[in-house]
Symmetry: none
């Protein structure tokens, strides 16, 4: 038996809306930890992984693991019947053949209930590409959307290149070639992946601060939860310090190394961990560094700030069609994280208060 109450139906609406063009049918795997969905897109080129953590719900109960096979198109129709700020409750009996969705405005006696027919869907087990990367870029989700949308007008694919210069998105087309270079806001550090703690609602996710460049020693593994969802982590060789913390220091400038600055933000992501506190700390430390980087930590850092971490230069080419599609998730959170390593699938991750949506896309082969 499942009963999951979301404070705002909007989250679910945006989430499903973002993936509906990629996935037509999928199993919502419900367990006591939350609800996950993983699916290959219709053409089996991209992989979508969604998670709504139990803690993201106002109320959550799931007695036993159960897969709910839904037609995403049908679910979209049902979700359109909810207003963004309606409270939305999902219910399914064990072995049920319908998923019940109830919408209740926060101040009203109205109650709308829908029963979505379920279907049996083969759980094709999907291999999540990898969990450590040579480069990580965190940027405004709106900017990423803008870039891929712009470039998609010129050509079909984009070459994403992370170098000391920054991150460059370039596309060649019949009528014109285009290139967008983002400098990054501070020294380029090694990849670290803690992205987790929950900051405020939409922002969280990315407070990773810039840790300047520390050497690569710290790696970061994000892994969080116990069971291992796929977490992202950078592969920095030596790194490995305990995952708990990443050392994100602040200084991007001279990076003084993060002496104590690195706090533990990472794990927080799934586990709730202590959000605010850590963030605060970080902010302070960073502030001391040079001028501006303060932004790094403050989650509300200016939305234009771009964080770039890389262990080695990467250059990959991807289909813009998919990236544009992934970018529909921009309305879920203000930041997006790109994880790349040469010759392996790109991970585009949107983390928000209640969970995340991650997209994996294989690079085009002939990429330079």
């Amino acid at each position: 038996m499942l009963e999951a109450k979301l404070e705002d139906a909007g989250i679910l609406k945006k989430l499903i809306d973002a993936i509906k063009e990629l996935v037509t049918d999928a199993n919502f795997e419900c367990s006591e930890e939350g609800i996950t969905l993983q699916a290959m897109d219709n053409s089996h080129v991209a992989l979508v992984a969604v998670k709504l953590v139990q803690s993201g719900f106002k109320k959550y109960r799931c007695d036993r693991p159960m897969p709910l096979g839904v037609n995403v198109g049908s679910l979209t129709k049902v979700l359109r019947c909810a207003k963004d700020d309606d409270t939305c409750t999902l219910r399914a009996a064990d072995e049920a053949d319908v998923l019940n969705l109830t919408y209740e405005p926060k101040n009203s006696d109205r109650v709308a209930a829908y029963d979505l027919k379920l279907m049996d869907i083969d759980s094709e087990t999907l291999g999540i590409p990898k969990t450590s990367y040579e480069a990580r870029v965190v940027l405004s989700s709106a900017e990423f959307l803008r870039i891929v949308r712009d470039l998609s007008q010129l050509g079909d694919s984009v070459r994403i290149e992370v170098s000391k210069e920054g991150v460059r998105f370039a596309s060649d087309g019949e009528a014109a070639n285009g290139s967008v270079l983002l400098k990054g806001q501070g020294p380029i550090g090694k990849v670290e992946q803690e992205k987790k703690e929950k900051k405020d609602d939409d922002e969280e996710g990315e407070d990773e601060d810039a840790d300047g460049d520390k050497k690569k020693e710290k790696k970061t593994k994000v892994k969080k939860e116990k069971d291992g969802d796929e977490d992202v982590e950078m592969d920095d060789d030596e790194a490995a310090d305990e995952d708990g913390e990443e050392e994100k220091e602040d200084d991007e400038e001279d990076d003084d190394d993060d002496e104590g600055s690195k706090k533990r933000k990472k794990k927080a992501r799934l586990s709730k961990s202590s959000p605010k506190a850590s963030k605060k700390a970080k902010t302070a430390s960073s502030s001391k560094s040079k001028k501006g980087k303060s932004k790094a930590d403050d989650d509300d850092d200016d939305k234009d700030a771009v964080l770039i971490q890389m262990n080695s230069h990467v250059s990959l080419t991807f289909s813009l069609k998919y990236l544009v599609n992934f970018s529909k998730s921009s309305n879920l959170t203000r930041k997006v994280e790109l994880y790349m390593s040469n010759d392996v699938p790109l991970l585009v991750s949107y983390t928000f208060g209640e969970g995340y949506v991650r997209y994996y896309l294989a690079p085009k082969i002939g990429d330079d």
Copy 2:
């Protein structure tokens, strides 16, 4: 070598957006005076003339005249990649086969650069219809847009009639007929075209004076600046003299034979007539005529004010489809000027700080 920096890419975006449905390919003629473009619409019914004056750029350099043949659709795509307030720089080397467009947000480390492929385009020399008119109407561009859009729902064409009563836009359709009458805000004066005085920024713009172009033989020489620009001026031949009174309306009444009247207007159309001198004279005379024109000059009149000047009654019928299309330029400036003479193409002119866009449209023959 061309290097032209516009403070805001928005101007160019709106400009190109406005003409993209009329023109598919065109030469941007760059010279030290600025950039001009002249082209017939795809069906050769309308003519578009654009000018961006050198002084409208934040920085402008063009060592030698050069035509840049661009596909307007491609340019539109590239311009869509710019935000309205981005600084936009156009660059082209001599003999280059690409036009480089660089966009830089005013506060950011982002730099986007696009190379638009150029093409060779035959400079079909275009004959700018005429330079003097029997009637001039200046009205809010938004109002003009509204009128033609409204009427376009009823029928395919509109009869524009300028009389002592004001200016009337009328359309007959299957289901309904419609008519919009604008009174004009003051007495109707003679046409005067000095509009060149600089009025407020968005108004002036075309100081190039009119030398109109004479018969089509000059056709294009766009390059040559001086002689070529098309300038608008009214042809008040007779008007000038006695213009004081507008008895002209009567003529059209019986116009038919009005040998005299017709012909002269005819000729006006093709011949360029004497520019400056006449104009000056005219202006003076006109001013003395009724009082109305006073406002004429003050262009900044309230935006709803409609200025009407006419030497003789005019009544012409045009395709609404084109007028609606021309009206896309409404977002460039608050005022639009309509210049008309019986049986010659209408001139719809939008003048803004950096230059102007002018559209010429031949009247429908069977107009009443």
